[in-house]
Amino acid sequence: MKATLVKIKNWFVRHAPTKRRIIQLYSALLFNANIKGYITGDIFKGLSKNACTPGLNCYSCPGALTACPLGALQNAFSESRKTTPYYIFGIILIYCIMFGRWICGWLCPFGLFQDLVYKIKTPKLKKSKVTKALSYLKYVVLVFFVVIIPLAYAFRDFPLPGFCKYICPAGTLGGAIALLINPANSGKFLMLGPLFTWKFALLVSFTVAAIFIYRVFCRFVCPLGALYGIFNKIAIFGIKLEKKACIDCGKCITTCKMDITTVGDHECINCGDCISVCPTQAISWRGSKIILPDNEIKAATTDKEREAASARLKKRKKVVSIIVAAVLAAVLAGALIYANFIDKPTKPTAGSEIGDACYSMELEIVDGGGATVSVEDLAGKVVVVNFWGTWCGPCKEELPHFNELASEYSDSVVFLIVHTDYTRDEAPAYIAEHFPSSKMLFVYDVPILNEDGNATGDDKYFTELGGTSGFYPRTVVLDINGKITFTIDGKIEKAELADEIDRALLKK
């Protein structure tokens, strides 16, 4: 019994959280500090989303405080005909040159998820020539899904994030599942279809594989890791190998679970496990001497001086650690307070459920010279209100169906197509190009003003008609008296909308 207790105690001592694990948990919490989002089922909409998380963290996750660099990059490629993507290039370059794949090993929330599932006691697949060859697959994913697909669709004026849409498991886990388990989003189940089936299957496959294969997604698929890996050798912070001290024993390579050829190459996630196994201490942290220079020890001529210098360096390390820990704790506390207490959510007001009377919306007509239209003016006809944006792929996909229905029902139904975005620059050109003589009535939503009177985007009526969850597109059908008969978030098929219109018309 005593021996068993000793074994258990030794196990806990051996498996106490390492510095790396603590930093991984800290960064996962920091990047997903919007705890309130998990409770309300809504995503964070604050200004911190101007910045990007260094690792893979879907911005549609209810907890996410920042944007995902990969999602932002693909979106930037999709919009590259209008805006050259300097900003996101700059952000990613900074991360690449400062940290390289240290981000993968220490900051990425999805990397943490894989590390944790790998701890389940099962036989593990060892690295080999096959895994080494497969590790180049992520460069193919980077070129094809992150660059080519969004650029190709940019020429069709259609935003399509190839990697996010067809592969990314972080979006399915952190975004879809986290949103859907909230009862407030129970209606969103109707939006699920073949894409979710595919992505869920992919998520389950990656999760099961990660139990048996160390960091399967990071090694073989992650395009962000591929990007960071290109700069890994020249990044400021990371692992370095002192070639003069290296005796080529290969212990670092055999200890490492990644498919490295040498320590610090493009596959190295800078976890630091190799530092302790190197018999000649040839492996160390690059950049550590910027913060804690050891020139006093090097300058010492006697053993006594060296000991004194080492003691001073040790003391300095302790002080720096305390300061860094205090700063990080303050940053996390600040993020939690900002996200959960300062940023007030927009609550849905009455008038968003079936049977409610729609608010009297007064909306400016696109290219109408300031002319407006009000829902009250359209009394006596069924009104289909669709909230869309030029930045939204599914929205653009369904508009041609709305156009066809608008022609078919032109006598009895008005299609009010409401554009929502931070800018009104793109909508007129898009509408003129794709719907030149449409029966649909294109209008702009109204800006929401914050406490300082500044506009935070054109989505006032979208929000008031129950669209607080940010799911686009949103379609609302009003009967001849302006009462809501049908609402749906997400794309709607032509036949289904025609049925709802017929139902609303029958109520005459």
Binding site: I91, M191, G193, I211, I234, G470
Partner: protein
């Protein structure tokens, strides 16, 4: 039954259960989708399928806990990962081998291996380029990708593009396998050369032997080159961020990030 056998069996059972559970989850999702009609998913239907999966999940969880306890009590076996040490060792040793002093036969064979690898690189580059050009020509001439049928168009395009992509990956794998075998042979030859009395030269001499003066210069001043390249990249990144803020790139990032990307999370 010995402790290690008990531990081994429990770990094996856990592995099998985990794989089966994964397959069950995927199968249930596929069944839900295929039998659900136009809008297959609803909270109630998903709840029904989850209740079916509850017992297998609990059994798997129990198995994980049991195998964890057995490993805790009976000790964990440490096994080193297999690793190919050929490439780094070869790089280190062959960089120090003076080919001029090497026996002719060994020198010839070493140069032949290097030539073979260069030829393999050339052939694989040509194959990959051809595959990429075919893919690009197909995609650029693909007249569809309309908004109405883009899902179907993507599947159709994927049926052409995927085999080409698999071909590219296959060429890379073959090249990699060929290279690793060739490097193993070269490593044996280099070791033979060194033991036959060929001179092992130091790093400085190796740099001076380098015929490319630019490479030799860069190698001698590697620290300064590294510092300059880092500073250049940082400066470029800061300029890009500044220009990006001015040209509206930052607003684009915010505009996309504050709205749920339904495609990204599989909702449409």
């Amino acid at each position: 039954m010995s402790k290690s056998k008990i531990k081994g069996i429990s770990v094996l059972i856990t592995s099998v259960l985990l794989i089966l559970l994964g397959i069950l989850f995927i199968a249930c999702t596929a069944h839900l989708y295929l039998t659900g009609g136009a809008r297959p998913y609803s909270r109630e239907r998903v709840g029904e399928y989850l209740s079916l999966l509850a017992i297998p999940s609990l059994i798997t969880l129990l198995s994980c806990v049991v195998s964890f306890v057995f490993v805790l009590l009976f000790g964990e076996e440490k096994s080193e990962a297999r690793a190919d040490l050929t490439a780094p060792t070869l790089k280190r040793l062959s960089g120090r081998l003076s080919l001029e002093d090497c026996p002719e036969k060994i020198k010839g064979e070493i140069l032949l291996e290097r030539k073979k690898r260069k030829l393999a690189l050339l052939f694989s580059a040509v194959f990959i380029a051809v595959f990429c050009i075919v893919m690009a020509v197909f995609l650029l001439n693909f007249k569809r990708f309309t908004l109405e049928s883009y899902n179907a168009d993507v599947i159709e395009a994927a049926l052409i593009v995927l085999p080409l992509a698999v071909g590219i990956v296959g060429v890379i794998c073959v090249k990699y396998y060929f290279d690793s075998e060739s490097k193993k042979r070269e490593l044996l030859l280099v070791r033979e050369g060194l033991s036959a009395g060929a001179k092992a030269i130091g790093d400085t001499e190796a740099r001076e032997e380098c015929k490319c003066k630019a490479l030799a210069f860069l190698s001698a001043h590697s620290d300064k080159v590294l510092l300059i390249s880092r500073l250049t990249v940082i400066a470029l990144a800061l300029v890009f961020i500044g220009v990006g803020i001015l040209n509206g790139g930052m607003a684009d990032v915010l505009g996309k990030a504050v709205r749920i990307c339904t495609e990204c999370i599989g909702l449409g």
